[in-house]
């Protein structure tokens, strides 16, 4: 799993059967200093995340297991909110707390 920031939302009505009702969101993977790392991608949201949230996501085939129907072509899924992460002794992000 990786750290990421949710940056946007995607609307797609025509989608693979079994993916109905699953939220699609843009995420930007982050490094150990919470700086953007690599290219943004679209992930299925297994939680009620939204733009600005600090989250963790899983990629590869396992991502489909986070969806309501598990036999779906999904290669990235947001699986948890990150309230706080500590890296090298420093707090690198406070997702939910930051917004409060």
């Amino acid at each position: 799993m990786y750290l990421a920031r949710v940056t946007g939302r995607v609307v797609a009505t025509q989608r693979y059967t079994g993916l109905e009702g699953v939220a699609l969101q843009w995420i930007q993977p982050l490094d150990e200093d919470a700086k953007p790392m690599g290219d943004p991608l679209v992930a299925c949201a297994a939680i009620s995340s939204g733009p600005g949230d600090l989250v963790m996501f899983v990629d590869g085939r396992e991502a489909a297991l986070a969806c309501p129907t598990t036999f779906v072509p999904v290669d990235a899924a947001i699986v948890g909110f990150v309230e706080q992460a500590v890296s090298k002794g420093a707090i690198i992000g406070r997702g939910a707390l930051e917004r409060a």
Binding site: G8, V10, A12, Q14, L24, W26, P73
Partner: protein
């Protein structure tokens, strides 16, 4: 999933028999700011997408998790046609605009 635009289709008569009857699309990868990237993939279609459509495609072993691609030599599948998306509250793409 990555974003791309369907820029054409691929015709292949001589191919692995497990790929018979599958629709192949040529997809140009696009950035989240809707800028075309010089990178192209051939993907199997699972959502009746066509040329001009902005789509999402899944890669790797996840691409085999459809009834069309299960157990077949496929590593990219188009799994959604994108209507719109926004970034930080700003609308970036609108299909029907």
């Amino acid at each position: 999933m990555l974003l791309g635009k369907v820029i054409g289709s691929v015709v292949s008569t001589q191919k692995d028999e497990k790929l018979e009857g599958r629709k192949l699309l040529l997809v140009q990868v696009h950035s989240q700011h809707n800028k075309p990237i010089d990178q192209y993939v051939v993907a199997i279609d699972s959502v009746q997408a066509g040329p001009g459509d902005m789509v999402l495609y899944a890669t790797g072993s996840s691409a085999r998790q459809t009834t069309l691609t299960e157990g077949r030599p496929c590593d990219a599948v188009v799994m959604a046609v994108v209507d719109s998306w926004d970034l930080g509250g700003e609308n970036v793409y609108e299909k029907w605009a």
